[in-house]
Amino acid sequence: MATEVTRVPDEAVKRAFEAGAVSRNGAISVHMPLDHVDVGAGTITAAVTPPSMGDVGLSHATLRELYSFVALARALDERMWQLNRAGRAPFVVSGQGHEAAQVGAAFALDRSKDVVLPYYRDLALSLVFGLTARDVMMSALARAADPASGARQMPAHYGSAKLRIITSSSPVSTQIPHATGVAYAAKLRGTGQVSLTCFGEGGASKGDFHEACNFAGVHKLPVIFFCENNRYAISVPLERQMAIDNVADRAAGYGFPGVIVDGTDLLAVYQVVKAAADRARRGDGPTLVEAKVYRFHPHTSDDDDRAYRSPDEVKAWRARDPLALFEARLREVGALDDESLAEIRTRITGEVDAATEAAEQAPFPDPVTFDRHVYAER
């Protein structure tokens, strides 16, 4: 992935991507699309640089749509931080830096039937699956209209039955076996659905990751395990989290492929996840996809990341801001220009303002409802 690296001065980042390119248990490098490759168990490094639009096969309109999702997620995220600093939003979990990976992954699925099981960073992924700016602000401000939980859960605990975003909780990795079960049901019922669940590299240390991957491998289930590896679990760095470079290398232990992809490259992620989804639908079983990303902000609004990483490191990664990278690419291929960009930005600012206003006007939940829905009500 040399061309990637030349775009990045910082040594740490360079090493990270080299690690992606050569995995300790002998990763091989292939070109997209994945399904042209015979994928047994083993680790594959998806190197798609520069992306061949021909391979991707997306219209300029679609590329702009993808860009809009990334930009909307970014705008909402920034707005929530502003509200938090102003003391108007109690708590923020930020996905900045992960957006391209999430949008690429979500867009590669069939949004008319597939099921996603996100974790708290997956704002952008949830937007692609139909969550609105208004929904997000309602939960950010803990209003009754929060569709995920009626403000019973903290913000960033996404969920919507209608949108097939499975309700999420806080304990790390509990959603991974759920994804296996969802896929089992899809296979048994013949719905043709694929499930995709997201988690961090820290989450890959939990027993539930192991038990879920193993069970999915045994039954060749249509599930995609999507790891957003941002190199930190709160303050715990990668080298204290695991003795290997790539979570993807664990896939071989479950009998399905692991794919490492540059998570700042939306189209690379899109192609990898698309290939994994096709593979799942063909009945060939699970894929573990590891997107190398970076978290630009502290873990949450309660965290202070200066205790465990240097401003220089953050700065170096910000040079790979997925929003900027994708904008540059779309300009290259002529899918974006100043005009279309200005238009998108105006629309998004409008959406975010309206959503914020609506949420600030909206009522809190009625206290008398606090004990409802513990069980089905007859």
Binding site: L188, D208, A212, Y375
Partner: protein, 336 residues
């Protein structure tokens, strides 16, 4: 279900009642699946699921890898995508590694999603002691699940209730822990009405009526309590009411409280360790709701605060709650 319905019904063992009900329910609803360790080829280590694999195939009767959290976690996923999973944990002693999935996930899915999602999941688990199972094949830790909002917990004591409660559990849209006392599997036999019927949750069963004291028990202890009651009643010329809770969560407070208001004396029995147990809860409830009617302290008979049970028969006998220990406490209570 009154005695009339039970009279003349075919007799079955406790395990047969459970097995036959599983069979009927899986025939009736193809969304049901059974999963767990050894539930397929082996038909379960106790043979509760014998024959299911042959009839319903490997896709609906799943021999899972050895991973309790994975079993419950994937069962939750199945429930979230249109199936009605019936998971087996091989022994209650091995459910601990699944507690995160049971307590933090299954139990909280409806509440945390404000009723947008629900988790129709039955978890069948053999529990209880007196079978020389030692520390890890004898546990009764139902209290920790009763403590957890969002769960339902039931413990049939008769073959008839085993059928009715299992049906209710499978048709319930919330997670249910269905506890099967393993000592009862072949020991306890009784009439089981044909055809479908439910035993609603939250309704205790008055095993026998009485006026001088009330024993509240569940699971295998119902049978020990009944034996103790018979002996002590004969000896002392008293009449003892015996209540089988059947459903620990929801709890039938009214039946318990009304009985104690009538008899004035309560003995609460569990074979589990006593602290923060179901016996503690029922005793506290009676103390709050029947205070003015009590002629004696509400008495608890529970296992001591010892991480048993021990394996060696003399140790197990010393540890285990039985008719003898219940009888001794009952005599003291009556004499109070």
């Amino acid at each position: 279900m009154d005695d009339a319905e039970l009279d003349g019904a075919p007799r079955k063992s406790f395990i047969e009642a459970i097995h036959d009900t599983l069979l009927e329910e899986m025939r009736a609803d193809e969304r049901t699946v059974v999963l767990g360790e050894d539930v397929g080829r082996r038909g379960g280590v106790f043979r509760v699921t014998a024959g299911l694999l042959e009839e319903f195939g490997e896709e609906r009767v799943i021999d899972t890898p050895l991973a309790e959290s994975g079993i419950i976690g994937s069962a939750i996923g199945m429930a979230l995508n249109g199936l009605r999973p019936i998971a087996e944990i091989q022994f209650l002693d091995f459910i601990h590694s699944a507690m995160d999935q049971i307590m933090n996930e299954a139990a909280r899915i409806r509440y945390r999603s404000n009723n947008d999602f629900c988790c129709p999941l039955v978890i069948r688990v053999p529990f209880g002691g007196g079978v020389h199972g030692a520390l890890y094949h004898s546990q009764s830790i139902e209290a920790v699940f009763v403590h957890t909002p969002g769960l339902k917990v039931v413990t049939p004591a008769t073959p008839a209730d085993a059928k009715g409660l299992l049906r209710t559990a499978i048709h319930d849209d919330d997670p249910v822990l269905y506890l099967e006392h393993k000592k009862m599997y072949r020991l306890i036999k009784g009439p089981v009405p044909e055809g479908v019927y439910d035993v609603p949750f939250g309704q205790a069963r008055v095993v026998q009526e009485g006026t001088d004291a009330t024993i509240i028990a569940y699971g295998m202890m119902v049978h020990e309590a009944r034996q103790a009651a018979t002996e002590v009643a004969r000896e002392t010329g008293t009449s003892i009411e015996v209540i089988d809770l059947r459903s620990l969560k929801p709890l039938d407070e009214a039946t318990v409280v009304d009985s104690v208001k009538k008899t004035g004396k309560a003995l609460v029995v569990t074979e589990a360790n006593g602290l923060c147990s179901v016996a503690s809860e029922v005793a506290a409830l009676i103390g709050e709701e029947a205070f003015a009617y009590l002629d004696a302290p509400v008495t608890r008979v529970t296992a001591p605060d010892v991480p048993a049970m021990p394996f060696s028969p003399p140790l197990e006998h010393a540890f285990m709650v039985d008719a003898e220990k219940i009888g001794a406490a009952l005599r003291r209570l009556i004499a109070f």
